[in-house]
Structure formats: C-alpha cells, structure tokens
C-alpha cells in the first residue's frame, strides 16, 4: 500500500476532479471524470447509476488509476499533477450521502446534490493506493 502525503490530500480535497481509468474487458482503457473524497487511507467515489461501465470494469479487474491536475504551474511552467494507482472495490449504498458531502467542495458550500430527492442508494468505489506518481510534492 502507498500512503497519500499531506500535499496529495490537500490537492484531492481542493476540489480537483479525478480522472478515473479502468480497464475494459478487452484491456483497452476507459476514462471518466469523478468527484473524489478521502476516507482514511482510501479514496472514494459515489455512483448513482448501477449500469456504469466503470463499475463492471472494476468488478472484473480492480486495477485503477486516478489522476488530478493541480491548479498552479510549477517553476518549469508545467502543471503539477498527481496520479494514484490502486486497487478498487465496490460497495452498495451510501452514494447520495457521499455525493452530498463532495458537492460542498466541488460545487459550493450550499450545494444540494443529487438534485433528485429520491436518488437510489447507488454504489461507492473504494480505492486503496498502491503507487503514487505524477509531478509535484507527492511524488517520491
């Protein structure tokens, strides 16, 4: 397991979107952009829709990568970025509560999300980091 340092945690909690890569059945990559939270040493994301391809991909092959752009340029003029490689697992329920928590960061402190009051319990993806790369204060 790899530990997220304080710089990595600050970036994730700043509202940086996660670009989540999963693997399709034929080995090709699937990418989607998701809200990401921190739960202890894990990263978590919520999904209302059970039919998402990423959920099927993770159940078949739990290897994932999540990348985040920093909102500043470094001294070379390029943007720092964090890549978390890890192993994902999916649990049922809790998506509306997690999305409401994350909406306060990603939309604003008064955001109400999901917009549908009867949102299904959905699913949560939990990612255990195994390797941390990218360019920034989080990379070894």
């Amino acid at each position: 397991m790899a530990k997220l340092n304080d710089a990595a945690r600050r970036l994730i909690e700043s509202g940086a979107l996660g670009h989540l890569v999963t693997l399709n059945e034929d080995g090709s990559p699937q990418v989607c952009v998701v809200w990401v939270g921190i739960d202890g040493d894990e990263l978590i994301a919520g999904h209302l829709d059970a039919r998402q391809r990423k959920l099927a991909n993770i159940r078949r092959d739990p290897r994932v990568s999540l990348s985040f752009e920093a909102n500043y340029l470094n001294e070379v003029g390029t943007r720092d970025h964090l890549v978390v490689h890890g192993t994902a697992r999916i649990t049922e329920g809790g998506a509306p509560e997690l999305l409401q928590r994350l909406a306060k960061t990603y939309i604003g402190p008064d955001a109400v999300y999901p917009p549908n009051p009867d949102a299904p319990p959905g699913f949560i993806t939990h990612i255990t980091p195994t390797r941390i790369t990218g360019v920034g204060d989080w990379a070894a």
Partner: protein, 107 residues
Amino acid sequence: MWVGLDGDQLVAAHLSGRQRKLANIRRDPRVAVSFESAVTNDFGLREYLVVHGRAEVTEGGAPELLQRLARTYIGPDAVFPPMPDPPAGYLTRITVERIGGNGNWSE
C-alpha cells in the same frame, strides 16, 4: 501532458524516450485521453471530453511541438523546452476512434 491538433489527429511531444507511456503505446496502441472543460453544466457538473483512439510513436519533432503548445499552455511569450539543446524526442500521434465524456462533443 500538453495536447495539440494536427489535422484529425491529436499530437503530444515527449523529450525523454524512457517514459513508460511510450513503451506502453508501442506494445498496445489503444489509448484514451481526457480533458476537463471550463464549463459547468446545469447540474453543477464540469463537462469533460474523452477521446479514445490508436496511438503511434514517431521520432523527432518534440521541441518544435512543445514550443508551439507552450504558447497556449504557458503563454504567448513562453520559451519551451527551458534547456538550450533539447533532444529531438518523440511525438505521439493519436487517431480518434470514439468520443465520450459529458458535453457538446458526445452524441
């Protein structure tokens, strides 16, 4: 990474030949590139573009492409790469096969 357009292809430049992505592409050319939009939709979600395609790595031309892209990614007066004698490097050319994401580009 920085990405440019060359006709219907996406192009990116790499000064170092040891990057893992180059070895990965040579072994399996299937790639996906995602871009965040500056636009937030009516639900409060940021739009984004995903381009799925096939990549090919060619030799040379990296400093010239990086200089061109630096004007967009850093600023109109940017000089990049920062070193005086950069290696010729490599280009990745991506032929678009499928467009995804969430925005005016997905059908």
